[in-house]
Amino acid sequence: MPLSYTIAVIAIPLFMFLFLGLAGVKMSRKLTGVLGVIAMAVTTIIAYGVALTYFFGTGQDQVGADGVRQAVTVFNPAWLSFTDTMVVRMGILLDPIAAMMLIVVCTVSFMVHLYSLGYMSDHDGNAEQGFQRYYAYLALFTFSMLGLVVATNLFQIFVFFEMVGVSSYLLIGFYYSSPAANHASKKAFIVTRLADLFFLLGIMILSYYTQTFDFSQLVFGANGANDMAVAQSAIASAGGATFLGCSVMAWALTFIFIGGAGKSAMYPLHIWLPDAMEGPTPVSALIHAATMVVAGVFLVARLFPLYVLEQGAMEIICVVGAFTAFYAAAIACVQSDIKRALAFSTISQIAFMMTSLAVSSSNSAMIEIHGGTGLGYMASMFHLFTHAMFKALLFLCAGAIIHAVHSNENDKMHGLHKFMPITSIAFLIGCLAIAGIPPFAGFWSKDEILVAAYHKGFFWGLWMSMVAGMTAFHMFRIYFLIFFWKKHEIHTHHAPKDQPWTMTLPLIILATISIVAGFVPAHDLVTWNGKALETQLDWTVAGSSVLIALIGIALAYKLYYKENDLPERMKNGALGLWTAAYHRFYMDELYQFITHKVIFQGICVPIAWFDRHIIDGFFNMLASATGSASFAIRRLQSGSIQGYVYVYLLGVLLLAAVTMLCVLI
């Protein structure tokens, strides 16, 4: 399939958005859903065709003479010219990670489209209100995300960052009558917007020195793959300029990372993601688990050569990523809302990917000047891929459960294994995958991340292994709490059961992918410099990580498989810690304080007061001063003719007297 078909991959969702958005209201709800699914299926097929052609095709376009996978620019018209050199283009660029992301986005999106047919309907199969709108938004999101991954330049990524932000806003706030959804959507948008501001500043600084946005001039070499020399010259264009002691490029890259961190929910910009779970669950699966939240990782991966050269920025990413991974995993251990628990697990996993990128450059086996083997890079991208699949699976399972029991809280669930066997097995597969048990997908990718982390240093490896153990624990905690623990009490008028095929089929497909995805030869396909990477399983690391995962699972089994009072006692044993973790270490309260008390009460209100009373007051004062001055002198304009005559007469007499005096003298 020609690579230029990628245009269709982008264009179909855009068209569907416009079509469903404008004409959807006139159509029946079911029809819009089916149309949406069909369009997405077509898109997915084309995307697969393009991606497979890119990876396995033999054309000179894709793989150069030296066996390097090239970045292929399919289409790149100018969109907005700032100056002659700084031109924003809207184009399509295919390189390994873009092609991989095409697959990820389209697969998950298609699954979610299909799944939503069932999820967004009641138990009798009637589509709920706003169905058309929902599918329009999904199409918009898919378009934006695809536009983001195929971006040819930094600015295009920024543009689509904004677009996915808005789609995410619209979808979180889909149930717009609910105040919680409303609040969550606002929060998500504003937090990511704040991050985007930094992203923008980063682009400004970067583009000021390099005078370009194009990846082809920032990171890609002549052979069309990431090239250190090109990145070197881009960094050098700053001429060693510094700001507050750090090089401006480090600032720029850190700012860009902050932009990515906002989307990828890195600490402390993570607060929006748990709340974003107010949206429909398939949306959480698509946007807040699989695709949009990895945009930050994708962004850093895109500019990987630049980050490699600015180790300061890389260190920041490493620390932030590692801390976030731990922090989110800790919180996930105590959450009672399953979607929130999954959200924190997502944050933790994305932090894994970030850390993995950050550790990849400085590992001991440096074979090039700075690049290292790029093992972490590959692992990160691989994990991105596998995580998208199994996390989407987990979320869709959660959706099926929520749809069945009408609640997010795990104390309303318990013992569902009997009622929903397929869901239960799919969830188990997801959990095994995320816990890193071989041969499930997560094992392969996480293992490589840990290897890369141990390359950077023993501390980092240990830290990440610990987080991996926590991940296994909290995922299985959720699993056992939902499906076992005690007998299910039926709260609703009918017993929970496995959902219709539209919802079950995606679960099965994704579960299958989660099992086999680990065997994808990622080290051949998605490496930082386009060359195949020689790796072999490091059994010391792999074995220990499996062991840690098993310990985590065993612990979860012990605590949560059957109803017992051990968890309660543990909770009471460290009540303070438990409460803090349950309240996510009070980060939301802190933000609440800063936004409401400091910014709103401390800045906005005084400014508005100042405006009304000082500035406006000054002009009103001017007006009233003029008014009262006029009032004071209006006596002169008495309206009494006689007064006027008197004054007039005196004036005339005075004039006459003066004239006469002049004549006489």
Partner: protein
């Protein structure tokens, strides 16, 4: 003398005047006839504006690189060399296009105007005459005259057809703008008397710029006069206070026209007269006005965060966005100035859209207080969606006009290497977050959530005229947002003369 009628530009003044004449013959009760005349006038203006864009593109494609195209002039009053001099460059072309579209949308937004529809449209078209006249003239006096023609009808339009505290607002608006035009007039007279070194005084902007004869000492006096004179209309801090009150009281179409076009007169004038004619003073005194406009941007955005009246929110948002226009103009490079014009276009359409929607919502609910409203999306989905789109345009969603404009401004501004301008740029850029805050706040409060007032449930969605009015604006916003380069190509060359003039005094200009 009669050759001037061969110039298509003059018809931008003649068409509104003919419409005025036509309206004068209408009966106040004959709504049908009034609408017919008004729509004919508006459509003719849109058609002419599009024709003008084509002419402009043709001229440029044919290699006509003159600064202004379609120039012609007629002596008006020889003792002071006052001419009716016409001419347009890319900036005026797009401003004329913007005005035509907003007049068109405004006519439909006031479709059910009551009372005195005939008089309303009379004043409305008089205002448009002034606006178009301002954009097509290149003679100081003629420009000033049209400027005043555009200002005065505002008083009656707000005072008679407004709502709320309309007398106060109309008076405040008119007095502040008149006060500013007093400054402006002084400035213009000053420019005139220094317009030429050899005594051949002229009012023609191009000739004045060509002569470049205004002594530097005088520029330092005249520049602030002119800039403040226009800046007040551009809602520059701290002279912006007429804007919230004026907008809040003005009827829908007037708010649209005012925020959409009239405020652009300010930015346009600042660029065309103040900076172009007095580059030395512009570069000397830029820091003062940069500070003020920089404050405007953030200040307006913060103020908008706490307002509860829909129109006040948008008025403060206008302060912020218009601040960005003046801010970008003072950055003295082609990119930022192009961004300023894009922002004018964008803000004009977007704010017009906002005010149209607010007017329609207000016409139904009879309240503009967001605390009394909620869940409007259930009740009036069309207006709700329109409002969300306007909001997204305002907070800079790619694909809608605000984004392209703001990005061009920020990147252009960042081109300046000095720390002062950079810090201000970063400050200005931070407004995108605050904008998101207040836009989302109002959207959440007004459109989403539960219906606050049960009486609102019976309200209807937009009627066809309202749909037409808003759809025109939404489509325009989307077109600018999706194809900004089309406009950038029209606009950016027009800044070369200014930037060249500035180059002598401001070394970074023209980068």
């Amino acid at each position: 003398m009669m050759e001037i009628f061969n110039n298509p530009l003059i018809y931008f003044v003649i068409i509104p005047l003919l419409t005025l004449l036509g309206l004068a013959f209408c009966n106040n009760r004959g709504m049908r006839a009034i609408r017919a005349v008004a729509v004919t006038g508006a459509v003719a203006l849109v058609a002419l504006a599009i024709y003008l864009v084509c002419l402009f593109l043709q001229a440029r494609a044919a290699g006509d690189t003159s600064e202004m195209i379609l120039q012609s002039k007629v002596m008006w009053y020889a003792p002071f060399n006052i001419e009716l001099a016409l001419g347009v460059d890319g900036v005026s072309v797009v401003m004329i296009l913007l005005s035509a579209f907003i007049v068109f949308a405004g006519v439909f937004a006031s479709w059910k105007m009551n009372p005195l529809p005939k008089q309303f449209f009379l004043w409305f078209f008089l205002l448009s005459t002034g606006v178009f006249g301002f954009f097509i003239s290149i003679d100081l006096f003629t420009m000033f005259m049209f400027y005043e023609v555009a200002l005065i009808p505002m008083y009656l339009l707000i005072g008679v057809w407004g709502s709320g505290n309309k007398n106060y607002s109309a008076m405040k608006l008119t007095l502040m703008l008149m006060g500013s035009s007093a400054f402006l007039m002084l400035g213009l007279i000053g420019i005139y008397f220094h317009s030429s070194a050899d005594g051949n005084l002229t009012m023609n902007i191009l000739e004045i710029a060509h002569n470049d004869a205004i002594p530097h000492q005088w520029q330092l006096y005249l520049f602030p006069l002119t800039f403040v004179g226009f800046g007040v209309l551009g809602a520059m801090f701290p002279f912006h206070t007429w804007s919230p009150d004026g907008h809040a009281s003005a009827p829908t179409a007037v708010s649209m026209l005012h925020a959409g076009v009239l405020m652009k007169l300010g930015g346009y004038g600042c660029f065309r007269i103040a900076i172009y004619l007095m580059p030395f003073a512009a570069s000397e005194l830029a820091w003062i006005f940069l500070t003020l406009t920089g404050i405007s941007i953030v200040y307006g955005a913060f103020s908008a965060c706490v307002q509860t009246d829909l129109k006040y929110i948008n008025a403060y948002s206008s302060v912020s966005h218009c601040g960005m226009v003046l801010f970008a103009i003072l950055m003295f490079n082609t990119t930022a100035m192009t961004g300023a014009v894009l922002q004018m276009l964008s803000h004009g359409l977007m704010t017009a859209l906002f005010f149209a929607l607010i007017g329609m919502i207000y016409g139904r609910t009879h309240t503009r207080d967001i605390r009394d409203m909620g869940g409007m999306m259930h009740i009036m989905p069309y207006l709700g969606v329109g409002y969300v789109i306007a909001g997204l345009a305002s907070l800079g969603l790619p694909g809608l006009s605000g984004f392209a404009a703001e990005m061009t401004i920020f990147f252009g501004s960042f081109e300046n290497a000095d720390v002062f301008r950079r810090v201000l740029t970063i400050m200005g850029a931070s407004s995108i977050v605050i904008t998101a805050v207040y836009i989302l706040r109002v959207v959440a409060k007004l459109l989403f959530g539960e219906v606050q007032d049960e009486h609102h449930r019976t309200l209807t969605d937009a009627s066809w005229d309202e749909r037409l009015s808003t759809a025109t604006l939404i489509v325009s916003v989307a077109i600018i947002g999706c194809f900004p380069n089309f406009f950038v190509n029209i606009i950016s060359d027009s800044f070369l003369p200014v930037v060249n003039a500035l180059k002598d005094y401001f070394p970074v200009a023209g980068m």
